[in-house]
């Protein structure tokens, strides 16, 4: 069923059970996520769940309403104007097998492997069999991009799109949404593809994993796609359910980062320009390339930006709270900006041409982040390699494991 405040039936007489407390929509039981106040209107005490507030309020006074799940066999042809690589074709067939036999899979794929296309064949089959399909991700930027890509391929299908504040719905039979949106579904989806599984906040938040389970039917096929699988996920699908996809869609190796041992923060705190970094940026621009500079925190980024902007005026800095964020990313795409300083917000989802990457204080990032940042480079067929530099003050486990993972991917052969 689908929880909907205009639904015809009542799922629960109130969304929040004050004793407990428990939110019947998202399963939250943690006291700190409930807020209580005396309603000025009639003085009654109201408690609501802050955890799922973005889906509309679930509270102790209002019933949770719902509509029943509907399945409809729908012809859903797709078009693809290029041929899948042998690795993509292999993965596509494995997903199809998993779907037909009701099993789940983990696609352990390098960034830029072309994961979305591997699901098209199965989605078409599922829709024709009348199965409800969801393509989900914890990240809004991934959700938006996937919705565009699926829309281009499945031209005749109405694909729902849902994330915070956005709700374009056809019939909930072919849906692209954030994981949070699944709180509104119970036993509804038969085929769920979870992209960027490792991305915040899925691993830290067991409630989201519960949401995926509750939204899917008992026999559902779940496909998890990630570049950095957690042990918990591998356990979830079993060893046989893991497929490794070590090559990028264009077949080139992942770029190996180069280490530069240097303490940039120290330069900044002493009002010195970090010479090695400045020279490197100069070289990159001289080669008519572009660069993303990842910085672990906003205050350091702002200080560093001042120094860089003086010498390289075609530069900008973005972070998650920056109202101009999308505008600056657009300028980088149009090549008006050549040096873009960023926090981890741009570690996923973005693709730029002729791009290099510099990671400042790489010792401050974990392996998952480092792998994603490296994955920004060499995504285009026309520029498949690129350069990556790690500036680090000291060696860490995260840096070591990043090098090992990339080396393993590059050494691996396609199982096909």
């Amino acid at each position: 069923m689908i929880l909907d405040h205009r639904g015809d039936a009542i799922y629960r007489t109130a969304g929040v059970d004050v004793k407990g407390p428990l939110c019947h929509r998202c399963g939250n039981t943690s006291k700190k996520y409930f807020y209580s106040y005396d309603a000025p209107f009639d003085g009654s005490r109201v408690t609501y769940c802050m955890k799922c507030i973005n889906l509309g309020r679930s509270d102790s006074m209002t019933p949770l309403r719902c509509n029943p799940t509907v399945r409809r066999k729908t012809a859903s042809p797709y078009t693809l104007d290029f041929e899948l690589s042998s690795q993509q074709a292999y993965a596509s067939d494995r997903i199809m097998d998993a779907l037909k036999t009701g099993r789940s899979l983990l696609l352990y794929a390098v960034t830029g492997a072309g994961k979305t296309e591997m699901t098209f064949q199965s989605i078409e089959w599922a829709r024709e069999a009348g199965l409800n399909v969801a393509f989900i991700s914890p990240r809004i930027d991934v959700v938006k991009e996937v919705h565009i890509r699926l829309g281009q391929a499945f031209v005749s299908s109405g694909i729902d799109l849902m994330y915070d504040g956005v709700k374009q719905v056809h019939d909930y039979q072919f849906t692209v949404c954030t994981v949070h949106q699944l709180f509104n579904f119970i036993d509804h989806f038969d085929f769920i593809i979870v992209d960027e599984t490792d991305a915040f906040p899925l691993p830290e938040d067991p409630i989201l994993m519960q949401a995926i389970r509750r939204a899917s039917t008992r026999a559902a096929t779940l496909i998890f796609m990630t570049a950095t699988p957690s042990r918990q996920l591998i356990r979830e699908v079993g060893k046989d359910g893991v497929i490794t996809l070590p090559r990028r869609y264009h077949g080139h190796d992942l770029t190996m980062p180069k280490m530069v041992w240097h303490d940039i923060r120290r330069d900044i705190s002493r009002d010195r320009a970090p010479k090695k970094l400045m020279n490197l940026i100069r070289d990159i621009l001289d080669a008519e390339r572009f660069v993303l500079v990842f910085v672990p925190e906003i205050s350091l980024m702002e200080a560093l930006f001042k120094v860089i902007h003086e010498v390289f005026p075609e530069s900008a800095a973005v972070h998650s709270g920056d109202p101009e964020r999308n505008h600056k990313v657009e300028k980088m795409r149009n090549k008006e900006i050549k040096v873009l300083l960023t926090t981890t917000i741009l570690e996923r989802g973005v693709t730029f041409d002729r791009l290099d990457a510099i990671i400042v204080h790489a010792e401050r990032f974990n392996m998952e982040s480092l792998i994603q940042m490296c994955g920004r480079v060499g995504r285009k067929q026309t520029d498949p390699v690129g350069n990556i530099w790690f500036f680090a003050h000291y060696q860490t486990d995260g840096i070591r494991r990043t090098f090992r993972t990339i080396r393993e991917f590059n050494a691996a052969r396609v199982d096909a």
């Binding site: 209107f41 509309g56 915070d164 504040g165």
Partner: protein
């Protein structure tokens, strides 16, 4: 405790400073983002961001031809993406914990005024929403106010164009005429869009000859 804005857990640090002060449900990151003012030239009276060609604020000119202006208009927060989202959640999603967050940006003292009065909402809206979004912020700050005005308006203002709004009949009425004459009044509204709402409210108040009227808005769209 969590930040009511981003829902991240707040680290509890007991130092000599916050040992004596109550911990607030807002993280430093959100506080900074909410406080940002986008750069650009602004109208000195309504704080709207003006285009380069505008010599005088067109919104204010429009109002000046039709209504008596307030003494001054104070605006607490810029209406950028972050704050748009914040007010949307607060007003339309029922996330009333955010009243406490908005209240943190309100000044604490209002010695220059005799009466503070919020823009009212209709009984029907009150039944649906359960709270007046403006008054609830004043309550959260512990500010005394008097409800001088009432309204029968139901249709959402955001659904109407500017000319439609001004052509509409004034939807407000005075519910407490005795509290107005000769007093210095602060009218509080949540979001100042075209300014017509607050000017219509002032028009009704002016009829009862207050000493002065100023306006405070939480944000300027």
């Amino acid at each position: 405790m969590i930040c009511y804005c981003c829902h991240e857990a707040l680290a509890v640090q007991l130092d000599i400073v916050n040992l004596f002060s109550k911990q607030v449900p807002l993280c430093e990151k959100c506080r900074r983002e909410i406080s940002v003012w986008r750069p650009g030239r602004r109208c000195a009276s309504c704080h709207r961001r003006m285009s380069d060609e505008e010599v005088e604020c067109l919104d204010c000119l429009f109002l000046l031809e039709r209504y008596q202006p307030p003494g001054k208009t104070t605006c607490l927060l810029d209406y950028h993406e972050m704050n748009k989202m914040l007010f949307h959640r607060y007003k339309f999603m029922g996330d009333c914990a955010l009243a406490e967050i908005i209240a943190m940006f309100l000044p604490g003292h209002y010695g220059e005024y005799d009466v503070i009065t919020p823009i009212p909402i209709s009984t029907q809206r009150m039944t649906e929403r359960g709270y007046n979004q403006t008054a609830m912020v004043l309550d959260a700050k512990g500010i005394q106010y008097e409800e001088l005005l009432g309204t029968s308006r139901v249709k959402r203002q955001s659904e109407l164009g500017k000319n439609d709004r001004s052509r509409q009949e004034n939807p407000f009425f005075i519910s407490r005429p005795a509290g107005i004459e000769g007093r210095r009044i602060l009218v509080v509204d949540d979001i100042y869009t075209t300014g017509i709402t607050v000017h219509q409210a002032m028009e009704k108040l002016h009829a009862f000859r207050p000493a002065a009227i100023d306006v405070l808005t939480f944000s300027k769209a």
